[in-house]
């Protein structure tokens, strides 16, 4: 009897709850459903405002013949892209970008791995060496570029003075296409090699020592150890380093911009070192052709994704 009663009372109460749930109950329900979204919202709101929105809006702008300050931009569909793919200056800029990218990223990653291996060894004043390689990264990029621009001056530059002492005729680092690419790549390498070396070093130190001990027991020398243990276990880090340096390398801008002694955005007298981002900048802020610049931006975005993806795939396959 009592059991029956309590059951009935309980059901009644339950119905009451369902009909009129108390305010606090509703609040806590809301809390459990909505709060998590609120907690992650700052990231998504910020990303939406300064990441996603500009990205999509750039795509939108690229469909217009849009001049800065023009009153009524005309919709032109894919015309900007059509012009872009027929534009010799764009292909030239793309070639320069890849040339500078290869001249910087390839030696950079290789030297970074070698440097990391050296820093992992038992050195005296280890921390000083490790911090030392990071020094160029701390220096201001603009100051660095201006100094390098001076060093590579065609008439009064230090590099040419040194070369002439060794007996090599001076190179016109400004006029020569390959020369200018080497000069710019050396600025990139100077700045980023140490940074990448430290990332690789951190990963290298995380490799368990007993693997090396086992290898020594099996009779492997230092070189064999490096290629059979160190490199394969560095794979995730190498992927990170290569992908980030691909993204950075294809968007190179400050170095070629400041390397131009005239201070323009043309990247040399005949655009011999104008990169894609520099061309984008020139289109947007020198020619004020925002629509065209937006189409360059999107094309570059897709190229960067494609190349970074390719490098990701290659690195995963190559280092097993």
């Amino acid at each position: 009897m009592t059991a029956l009663l309590t059951r009935e009372v309980r059901r009644e109460r339950a119905e009451q709850v369902r009909k009129h749930p108390p305010f606090r109950h509703r609040l806590s329900k809301l809390d459990s459903k909505v709060s998590p979204y609120l907690f992650v919202a700052p990231f998504f709101v910020l990303f939406g405002a300064i990441g996603l929105f500009p990205l999509l809006y750039t795509a939108y702008v690229s469909l217009f013949d849009w001049n800065l300050g023009a009153d009524d931009p005309a919709f032109v569909g894919l015309e900007n892209y059509r012009t872009l793919f027929a534009d010799g200056q764009f292909w030239n800029a793309l070639f320069n970008t890849f040339s500078i990218f290869l001249l910087s990223s390839v030696p950079q990653v290789i030297v970074a791995v070698v440097l990391a291996a050296l820093l992992a060894a038992n050195l005296r004043a280890r921390t000083m060496w490790r911090m030392g390689v990071l020094l160029p990264y701390v220096a201001s990029l603009v100051a660095l570029t201006i100094i390098f621009g001076n060093l590579f001056g065609p008439q009064f530059g230090l590099v040419n003075s040194v070369l002439s002492v060794v007996g090599i005729p001076p190179i016109d680092w400004q006029a020569d296409t390959f020369g200018s690419h080497v000069a710019i790549a050396s600025m990139v390498n100077w700045r980023w090699t140490g940074y990448n070396a430290l990332i690789v070093l951190a990963a290298m130190l995380a490799i368990p020592r007993d693997l090396y001990e086992a290898a020594v027991v099996d009779g492997a020398g230092p070189v064999r150890q490096f290629f059979s243990i160190t490199l394969p276990l560095l794979k995730p880090t190498l992927i990170f380093v290569i992908v980030t340096s691909t993204i950075g390398g294809l968007q190179i801008f400050t170095e070629p911009k400041l390397f131009d002694p005239a201070g323009g955005s043309g990247g040399g007298a005949v655009h011999q070192y104008q990169t894609v981002v520099l061309y984008l900048y020139q289109s947007a802020f020198q020619q004020f052709d925002l629509g065209y610049a937006a189409s360059i931006a999107w094309t570059l975005f897709l190229i960067v994704i494609a190349v970074a993806g390719l490098n990701f795939w290659l690195t995963r396959r190559a280092v097993r």
């Binding site: 939108y60 217009f64 300050g69 016109d172 002694p261 005239a262 201070g263 007298a269």
Partner: protein, 429 residues
């Protein structure tokens, strides 16, 4: 219209999320709490206006002036054009440099006609005619009040001239600088005996000076690009590139570090010299070259101008008349002489050019030459303002200068000409 509106709506939404702003209005001026009208003035480098602002505030108790000062011309103008495009955010009075004037003139509808909103006593005859003409639209609207100018003279190295057997006295060299033909001929004579020292710093510096003397430049008055049909341009091009081929150019890009070093190392013997260049030469050549440089009041084929600015009143501002009144006061001869005394900006006002303070000014680095009087003479030699098309500055800086540089770097002159014409067409599109 649609895309524009979308931007401003979004910009407004983004802004009001941070602060409460009045969207769609100038926003630059406001009535402050004590009933004063606030006027903002945006300048770059040194206009020498700091003390003048205080003076104006003292005589106009209802005005409060705020100054926005940019370090360099290039970011100042980039900001100007961006905010013209955005439709808000500009100062009540915006300074504009001569090199950017053509771009501003193509957006003249966004500026107040100073003949209309400005005080009547600030009429056109206050300034040198060519100075005012350059800031007047085809239908007669005055966009800017002239502040300073950069009349061209010739600077040269006395010691190098003597070594090469040329006359070196400021009076005697005038015949060398009479025409461009005599200038290049003297260059041939000079490099024959100079032992590797060049005649001028770079081809584009000479070409631009030659170009600006013509009545018609890159564009005709209907804004049609005439680079190919204007024989004068090709004439200048041929004369300069011929001189480059003979080795008269030091191949130093203006304003580069190598150019600066060139002054110190004595890499070239002559320099096209606007009034403000004396300071540049003194700074770059340094005390060890004191007494070697001289300047003379002659310039090939007459005169010329390089540099100088204007004060404009954009339509975005709310207090156009008060802003114009301030701009007119600042650009009056009496005030420009004060600015000249403060920062050495060379005045563009007719009356100021005969002011004793200007005429008595000397330059110790250039052998105590009466620089003020010398450049005042040169300012009166400028014939007329060349009509500038909307992309004129761009074609000069980003098309012809790099093309001439490419010749100095060893490219074929005919190919460079073809490239220049092509790029000019692209820029003018």
């Amino acid at each position: 219209m649609r895309p524009r509106r979308l931007t401003s709506v979004l910009a407004c939404a983004a802004m009001s999320a941070v602060t409460v702003t009045a969207c769609g209005s100038g926003g630059a001026t406001s009535q402050s709490a004590d009933g004063k009208t606030e006027l903002s003035v945006a300048t770059f480098n040194e206009f020498g206006y700091e003390d003048l602002f205080k003076e104006y505030e003292a005589s106009h108790p209802d005005i409060k002036i705020t100054q926005r000062k940019a370090g360099q011309a290039s970011p100042h103008h980039q900001n100007l054009f961006t905010k013209l495009g955005a439709g808000s955010g500009l100062a009540d009075v915006e300074a504009i440099e001569e090199g950017y004037l053509s771009q501003v003139m193509s957006k003249a509808s966004q500026f107040n006609d100073l003949g209309e909103v400005g005080p009547k006593d600030a009429a056109g005859d206050r300034w040198l005619k060519w100075k005012t003409d350059a800031a007047t639209t085809k239908d007669g609207k005055l966009i800017g009040y002239g502040t300073d100018i950069g009349p061209l003279a010739m600077c040269y190295r006395k010691d190098l001239f003597e070594k090469a057997g040329l006359p070196s006295d400021p009076e005697a060299v005038k015949s060398l600088f009479a025409t461009w033909d005599s200038y290049f001929a003297a260059g041939d004579q000079f490099i024959a005996k100079s032992g590797g020292v060049a005649w001028f710093d770079s081809a584009s510096q000479i070409f631009n000076a030659m170009h600006n003397q013509h009545e018609v430049g890159y564009f005709d008055k209907s804004d049609k690009l005439v680079v190919e049909s204007n024989a004068a341009i090709r004439g200048d091009w041929d004369a300069v590139t011929k001189a480059v081929a003979k080795g008269q150019s030091a191949k130093l890009v203006a304003w580069s570090n190598e150019w600066n070093t060139g002054f110190k190392a004595g890499a070239f013997a002559t320099k096209t010299c606007p009034s403000w260049m004396l300071g540049v030469i003194e700074a770059q050549a340094g005390p060890e070259n004191k007494g070697k440089w001289a300047v003379t009041d002659a310039f090939p084929n007459g005169g010329g101008n390089w540099g100088g600015s204007y004060l404009t009143v954009p339509k975005q501002g709310k207090n156009a008349e008060k802003a114009a009144e301030l701009a007119a006061w600042l650009t009056a001869p009496e005030q420009q002489i004060k600015a000249f005394k403060a920062k050495g900006t060379f005045p563009s006002q007719v009356k100021a050019l005969s002011d004793p303070a200007l005429l008595e000014q000397t330059n110790a680095y250039f052998g105590d030459v009466k620089a003020g009087a010398l450049f005042a003479t040169q300012a009166k030699k400028v014939a007329a303002a060349q009509y500038k098309g909307p992309q004129d500055g761009q074609i000069q800086d980003n098309v012809f200068s790099p093309a001439l540089q490419s010749i100095e770097q060893g490219k074929n002159a005919d190919d460079a000409w073809k490239t220049a014409v092509q790029e000019a067409q692209k820029a003018a599109k």
